[in-house]
């Protein structure tokens, strides 16, 4: 989230799209309903009428995978009807930037596409630069090569009739949403967009969110109270684990994973440190060497020295362009290229697409260590139905892990608040925390290497590794220490004292930090700030419910990101009733500003979007794989053979794997005419590996179901409660039919397309509840993130003669 949970109450319009907020993030609706009772309009755009829809002002059904068409239509509506916030657009976004002559767009493809590699040459999309290498601008927004004009042209194609034709949303419903949301373009109005996996689980996932960002920039909704782009992150500490990098392409703090091309630290910094010559650009990532070197210092301690590049050479490096995400990992495993591994708290045989393939892939391992609270479909894969465990060679270890309520530590919520929790009870029996297991295991490995160092033991022996895991100590290491006695400003710090803020992290080895974003969370002056529970706030803060003294939030306790876009050039708020920050008597008051520089009108200010090179919000985003503007492409498995925007049917850069089990249905395949979308449920947690073992939750949501319209049910001769078989090109799944008016048939290109929906939380280890829905979904992914397309694929459905998975 750019904003935070409580801040949702400040919105005048709430667009919930790509999310079933009420069911999957129940607490969100405390604030959504608060906003609603103050007069906000709440809109839910989603294939299914859910509990979210029930509490919204209105629900608009659309076909899965057509969000960009829907949002592109809204961008067009806002521009055509001049509903945008022009002052914000000119001062704070790259609307005025001039794009180079090489950029173009034709028939769904931007310039620079190479069909052989399925990649773009992104240099074709560069801005026109002046003699100082600063982008040229036209603040009048009239230049035909300026971002605003190019964007206007691009989205002029997204007319209501075309959008309606492909999304299945009536033109009346389109306008209802467009008008209500576009009204937040007024300077004193706020609109927020709440999204979740409904947007990310697509082969156009990143561009779905880019579309939302464009909308929010057009309407001046970023940086303000009640605005923002708000990703509702999952309960399994998704925000915290992303910050600390449970992703292969990053190291902690959103810095790139070293690749083989960057052999030295200098190579790494050269490739990753952005340069701006614009004195008005903070270009915050220019500080990256300070954060990266402090990270190396935290990893290698005394063994990280200037002379040895702070140990950079000891880091493993990935092959450039290689994909190590789990679509590809399991593909390699299926091909027999992996021998063994660890699976911590994850149930891939249930939650990874094409799970029949994942199950077979695991059979190829020599050994596997699984770590979980309960036995799951993954820990017990070799006992799965139809398999004789004696025929599988894998040696499997199951380590019992502590439940999250049995350990001390922090969770970072969607609003970036890091909150400490104490263990409620001790873990039972031999169960241990992940931290205990990893620290002890590595110490055993280190002992072994000390005795037999082998070829290159340095990376293992020279890391600064604790003897025992201690959550409090880890929180300190994450914050970081001074490694020498030092004077910062007027204050003296001793070696070993905690660093007060990331502003003092250095690239010379004098500081360490396991994650620069969290520096300042644990200080000598205030201790562990994630333990703060102080509700006091100033009257200005109280108006918007900022609660700056409750827990701690990254970065530097800033509760609303990019908040300097909430004020005009003089530092005065666009909406004085909901002030986030304000320049008063020579200083900022309210939230922690995005940098303490004075307002831009003084000539000493900085542009508010400090994490971008040039300091401006990126309507035009040259960094994404499939283009600088979002464009509608169909899901990889689509019920249509063409769409109205171009001849390019699907994302030209989508990712996929190609084994004998990765079969895809052709566009408009008559064998699989129905669109399937998949989702979580309120009552179970993710793949259900934990919650299916809780009888009260299983009582409330006991068995796999498929939600379908009465119209489709009639067509297929299915009655409510009947057993059915859902089939895709990859597998079959049994489910119970839930025939409901909440699923509506959609009119697409003049004919009816049916969509059905299924949860993915059921698995065979819970007797009679059904088995993995992901046996149906395909291993195709977004080109930027490799996140699989769980939300749209093709299936057929029929009444079952008998059920074997459900009883």
């Amino acid at each position: 989230m750019t904003n935070h949970w409580i801040d949702i109450k400040n919105a005048d319009a709430i667009l919930i799209m790509g999310s079933n907020a009420a069911e999957h993030h129940p607490i969100s609706f405390k604030w959504v309903l608060d906003a609603k009772s103050r007069g906000a309009v709440v809109m839910h755009v989603d294939p299914k009428f859910s509990r979210t829809s029930a509490r919204s002002n209105f629900h608009v059904p659309l076909r899965s995978g057509t969000d960009i068409a829907f949002l592109g239509g809204m961008i067009n509506h806002i521009i055509e009807n001049k509903k945008y916030f022009e002052e914000y657009l000119v001062n704070y976004t790259n609307a005025s930037f001039l794009v180079g002559d090489a950029f173009g767009f034709e028939e769904g493809l931007f310039t620079g596409y190479d069909p052989k590699t399925r990649k773009y040459d992104q240099t074709k999309w560069a801005f026109q630069l002046d003699e100082n290498k600063i982008p040229k601008k036209d603040p009048s927004l009239g230049n035909p090569r300026c971002v605003f004009q190019l964007m206007k042209k691009h989205y002029s194609r997204y007319t209501p009739d075309k959008v309606s034709n492909i999304t299945g949303v009536s033109q009346e419903n389109l306008l209802k949403v467009y008008e209500a949301y576009a009204a937040t373009g007024a300077p004193n109005k706020a609109g927020t967009i709440l999204y979740a996996l409904g947007w990310t689980h697509h082969t156009v996932g990143v561009q779905n969110i880019r579309s939302a960002a464009i909308l929010q920039f057009l309407l001046g909704n970023i940086g303000i109270a009640g605005g923002g782009i708000n990703a509702l992150r999952g309960e399994p500490n998704v925000q915290g684990s992303t910050d600390h990098t449970l992703l292969y392409h990053l190291v902690p703090g959103y810095m790139a994973m070293p690749v083989a091309d960057w052999q030295t630290l200098a190579d790494y910094h050269k490739a990753n440190t952005p340069v701006s010559n614009d004195p008005q650009s903070a270009n915050w990532w220019q500080n990256k060497p300070k954060y990266f070197n402090s990270l190396l210092k935290a990893w290698f301690g005394e063994n990280a020295t200037k002379e040895n590049d702070f140990g950079y050479g000891m880091l493993p490096k990935v092959e450039k362009g290689e994909d190590y995400s789990y679509l590809f990992l399991f593909d390699r495993m299926y091909r027999g290229e992996l021998k063994g591994g660890f699976i911590f708290g994850l149930n891939p045989t249930n939650s990874v697409p094409n799970s029949n393939k994942v199950r077979k892939a695991l059979d190829n391992l020599d050994w596997l260590v699984t770590v979980d609270v309960h036995n799951t479909e993954t820990t017990d894969n070799w006992h799965r139905p139809g398999i004789d465990p004696k025929t599988i060679k894998t040696e499997v270890f199951l380590l019992p892990s502590a439940h999250r309520l049995e350990k001390d530590g922090t969770v970072t919520n969607s609003g970036r608040w890091q909150t400490w929790h104490n263990a409620a009870v001790k873990p039972p029996g031999d169960a241990r925390t992940f931290g205990d297991m990893v620290v002890d295991l590595m110490n055993l490995v280190r002992k072994k290497y000390e005795k037999q160092p082998g070829t290159y033991a340095d990376p293992i022996l020279k890391i600064d590794w604790p003897a025992k895991y201690d959550a409090e100590e880890m929180a300190k290491r994450i914050n970081g220490f001074f490694t020498v006695d030092i004077k910062v400003a007027d204050k003296e710090y001793k070696k070993g004292q905690l660093v007060p803020s990331f502003a003092v992290l250095a690239d010379d080895g004098s500081t360490s930090s396991l994650n620069w974003l969290y520096t300042g969370s644990y200080t000598e002056a205030e201790g562990n700030k994630s333990k703060r529970r102080d509700p006091t706030q100033t009257p200005m803060q109280a108006k918007i419910g900022l609660y700056p003294n409750w827990a701690w939030c990254w970065p530097v306790n800033r509760r609303i990101l990019y908040n300097r876009a909430s004020v005009n050039l003089d530092g005065q708020p666009y909406n004085p009733d909901k002030t986030v920050i304000q320049w008063q008597d020579g200083k900022w008051v309210g939230d922690v500003p995005d940098g303490g520089w004075p307002p831009l009108a003084t000539g000493k200010g900085k542009s508010p979007f400090i994490m971008t090179v040039h300091g401006f919000g990126q309507l035009y985003g040259p960094g994404r794989m499939e283009g600088p503007f979002p464009e509608h492409y169909e899901p990889v498995e689509t019920p249509v053979k063409n769409h109205p925007f171009s001849k390019q049917l699907r994302n030209p850069c989508y990712k996929s794997v190609s084994s004998d089990m990765d079969i895809l249905a052709a566009p408009g395949d008559p064998k699989y005419p129905i669109v399937l979308t998949t989702y979580s449920v309120t009552e179970h947690w993710c793949g259900g590996g934990e919650t299916r073992n809780l009888p009260n939750l299983l009582e409330a949501e006991p068995q796999l179901y498929v939600e379908m319209s009465p119209e489709l049910a009639k067509e297929k001769g299915i009655k409510n409660g009947d057993g059915v078989i859902v089939e895709s090109a990859r597998g079959k799944v049994e489910a119970i039919a839930m025939v409901t008016v909440r699923m509506r048939p959609l009119k697409i290109q003049g004919k009816i397309i049916h969509e059905i929906g299924m949860p993915f939380c059921f698995g065979w280890t819970t007797p009679g509840c059904g088995d993995s829905t992901n046996r149906l979904t395909p291993s195709v992914g977004d080109p930027n993130t490799s996140i699989p397309e769980y939300k749209a694929c093709l299936v057929n459905i029929k009444k079952a003669d008998k059920l074997t998975e459900i009883s």
């Binding site: 069911e23 309903l33 509990r51 309120t682 299983l698 006991p702 409660g721 008016v741 909440r742």
Partner: protein, 246 residues
């Protein structure tokens, strides 16, 4: 001072936190349920579910409605179940003066199945359920143990949206009127269900029958509202003032 619940269905998202919290607090065992084509599970109140979120959906003139009704004992001001039970066994059903909680005691196990059925029939909201193993009549306890110790009922404590509210009756009535006025702006048919007669007041945003057959007294036809009120205010079989302190 008597207490009341206000259950504001305009704020209910059917997360079922209340349903689960009730089971957890009372340590009730789980039923073996099946998917029958509805999210409402278990299908009905039973000796192990004192609280159940009922789901009701419809499509009218192109508009989908989905209503959620966290069903539980209304803790009637003049409880007909108590009146009925006293005809058979004194003290089987009591009313706590302090909170207004209507409580089924262990003595209900001594009621015959037929008497239990009569008590069940007396309830205009179809709430009591008999545990066939123990013979006990069961229902919502208003978490009298929690409330007597200054805590909120489990279902209220766990509610994330403000749908479940609990407090002094006067405060709840005031809150109910405030919420009703707000709800009426969007939902002209919004009402407070039997507010004068019960301690569990529902704010409904549509006609009660759209929620469930027993959303208000007398709706299902097995007992008319008039009969219900006559039963409450009519002559009683036993002296009324039989209360217990907890």
């Amino acid at each position: 001072m008597p207490k009341s619940f206000l259950i504001d269905t305009s704020r209910c998202t059917a997360c079922r936190g209340c349903q689960i919290a009730c089971k957890e607090w009372h340590e009730l065992p789980a039923n073996k349920t099946k998917q029958r084509g509805s999210h409402q599970n278990p299908p009905d109140l039973n000796p192990f579910n004192y609280k159940l979120v009922r789901f009701s959906e419809s499509l009218e003139n192109g508009k989908i409605s989905w209503y959620f009704f966290p069903d539980q004992c209304r803790h009637c001001i003049e409880p007909p179940c108590k009146g009925e039970a006293e005809g058979y066994l004194e003290g089987a059903i009591i009313k706590d003066d302090k909170t207004g909680a209507v409580l089924f005691t262990e003595l209900t196990a001594k009621l015959s199945p037929e008497n239990c059925e009569a008590v069940r029939a007396a309830c205009p909201y179809d709430i009591p359920r008999r545990n066939e193993q123990t013979g006990l009549l069961t229902k919502c306890t208003m978490c009298i143990d929690r409330v007597s110790n200054g805590m909120l009922p489990a279902c209220v404590k766990v509610c994330p949206t403000g749908a479940m509210n609990f407090g002094e009756r006067a405060d709840m009535l005031e809150l109910a009127q405030k919420r009703l006025a707000e709800a009426k702006k969007t939902f002209p048919k919004a009402t407070l269900a039997d507010a004068d007669n019960v301690s569990t007041i529902y704010l409904l945003i549509d006609e009660p029958k759209k929620y469930q057959p027993h959303a208000v007294a007398g709706l299902s036809g097995d007992l008319s509202r008039k009969q219900f009120l006559a039963r409450i205010f009519g002559p009683l079989k036993r002296p009324l003032q039989r209360t217990a302190s907890v």
